[in-house]
């Protein structure tokens, strides 16, 4: 049976812990300082675990998937050759486009510089869709910059350190992206629905001529969070609930978010 003293000590410890957490909530500055401090403490332990776990993991994966890896390698070589051929052809077009956009003074992602970065970690929790990347403020990456990869918009930088950054993916439940399609007259808001649930758009006016397969691009409205023309998603299904005055859309992200190894941070900041 617990003594009064030990019970008091337990309560004091619990209250102290809760008070600490509450204070950290109220003082974001301390919390962010603590984050980087704690990162430094955990890093050696993570390194030790990785030293042991990675070779074992690689050995197992190599043993089981060797034939797949060889086949994949051949396919990638072929695709690389095709891509190089296309890149050579499109060089002339891109120069022409660059010239035109400069002449017309139209901001478009094709003319914006990017910084390539490697994905270092994928969100460690069930409740946030984020990735950490290998470049940060020292490479010119700032909070708010859009991130693209695998043929479309991936997300937005939400935090930076000198040599790293956190990117909130468009599937995160806090993510909202203004998009448009075809003529660019109608704008919609695409929201993230969690790690495994993809994207959706609700309250789409009934008069909108949208069908499955329609490609959605960032609208680039003045004061928006993204430049115009970034591919965001393709419409998967269009649903009309009986009695409702609007459509609901389920969307397939344009970028393959489950295969993120390298990505490009677009050096573009939202207008103040």
């Amino acid at each position: 049976m617990a003594t009064d003293r030990s019970r008091r000590r337990t309560w004091t410890l619990s209250l102290a812990a809760l008070a600490t957490i509450f204070i950290l909530y109220l003082t974001t500055g301390i919390a962010s300082g603590l984050r980087s401090g704690a990162n430094i403490v955990v890093t050696p332990f993570s390194w030790a675990v990785n030293v042991i776990a990675h070779p074992i993991g690689h050995l197992l994966a190599g043993t089981v998937n060797y034939s797949d890896v060889v086949a994949q390698n051949e396919k990638l070589r072929y695709q690389l050759a095709r891509a190089q051929e296309k890149a050579n052809q499109s060089w002339a077009y891109s120069r022409q486009l660059q010239q035109l956009t400069t002449d017309l003074n139209v901001p478009f992602v094709g003319s914006l510089p990017t910084v390539a970065a490697q994905v270092t970690t994928i969100s460690p929790t069930n409740f946030a869709s984020t990735v950490s990347i290998s470049k940060g403020r020292n490479s010119g990456i700032l909070v708010g910059m859009p991130v693209v990869a695998n043929g479309g918009l991936v997300g937005r930088v939400t935090a930076t350190t000198p040599n790293g950054a956190t990117v909130r993916l468009i599937t995160d439940t806090h993510s909202l992206v203004g998009v448009t399609f075809k003529s660019g007259v109608t704008t919609l808001i695409v929201s993230g629905h969690g790690v495994n649930n993809g994207l959706a758009a609700t309250s789409v006016p009934l008069g909108t001529s949208i069908v499955p397969g329609t490609k959605l691009l960032t609208d680039g409205l003045n004061g928006g969070l993204y430049p115009a023309g970034l591919p965001v998603a393709t419409v998967k299904t269009v649903t009309l609930t009986p009695g409702a005055a609007t459509y609901n859309l389920t969307l397939q992200p344009a970028a393959n978010l489950s295969q993120l190894s390298y990505l490009d941070v677009v050096i573009w900041e939202p207008a103040a």
């Binding site: 809760l18 909530y25 955990v42 675990v49 776990a53 970690t121 929790t125 439940t173």
Partner: protein, 169 residues
């Protein structure tokens, strides 16, 4: 308690590292198994109340530094699990030596099932109303199964690190 505080802290940091390096990338049905919640709970089931709360705080805070969810929320859930488990542990419920073999896994499964729910519920306190849209039910089920399987080995490790003898009542 002071004698084992350092080893317990070191093991807790290793648990955080294992969580971040292995379990967070090894997703089952898209769900991360949260051993940073299971560890303090196992420590609590060993009857080590103060140590389990310490583990919960350290594991939770250090995990939260790597996550973009509200800071301290993982720690809060870990603290609640640790406290609840330590109440049971003090009564001998879930004791590896005296209780039936299935009691510890079952308690683990229950904890794994409710922990994500509590996490989302607690997020409302931080005015964060969108976390429930993630695959909450899948997270509950997968964590329940994983905790069921891992509860006994984790409890065994907790008793060893915490210096709890086989005959403690």
């Amino acid at each position: 308690m002071r004698r084992v505080l350092v080893p317990v802290t070191v093991v807790t940091l290793f648990i955080v590292a294992i969580q971040l390096s292995i379990f967070s990338s090894l997703r089952f049905a898209g769900v991360v198994v949260m051993i940073v919640w299971l560890w303090p709970m196992a420590m609590g089931l060993a009857g080590l109340t103060a140590l389990s709360l310490w583990c919960a705080l350290v594991a939770g805070i250090f995990f939260d530094t790597h996550s973009t969810t509200p800071f301290g929320l993982t720690a809060l859930v870990a603290l609640v699990l640790a406290y609840g488990a330590s109440r049971l542990g003090r009564e001998g419920v879930g004791d590896l030596d005296s209780a039936a073999w299935w009691v510890t896994p079952l308690l683990g499964a229950a904890a794994g099932f409710v922990a994500p729910l509590f996490f989302v519920g607690a997020s409302f306190l931080t005015l964060n109303f969108s976390l429930w849209r993630n695959s909450l039910f899948a997270a509950m089920v997968v964590n329940a199964i994983a905790f069921f399987l891992l509860a006994r080995p984790m409890a065994r490790l907790a008793r060893w690190v915490g210096g709890v003898g086989g005959t403690r009542r």
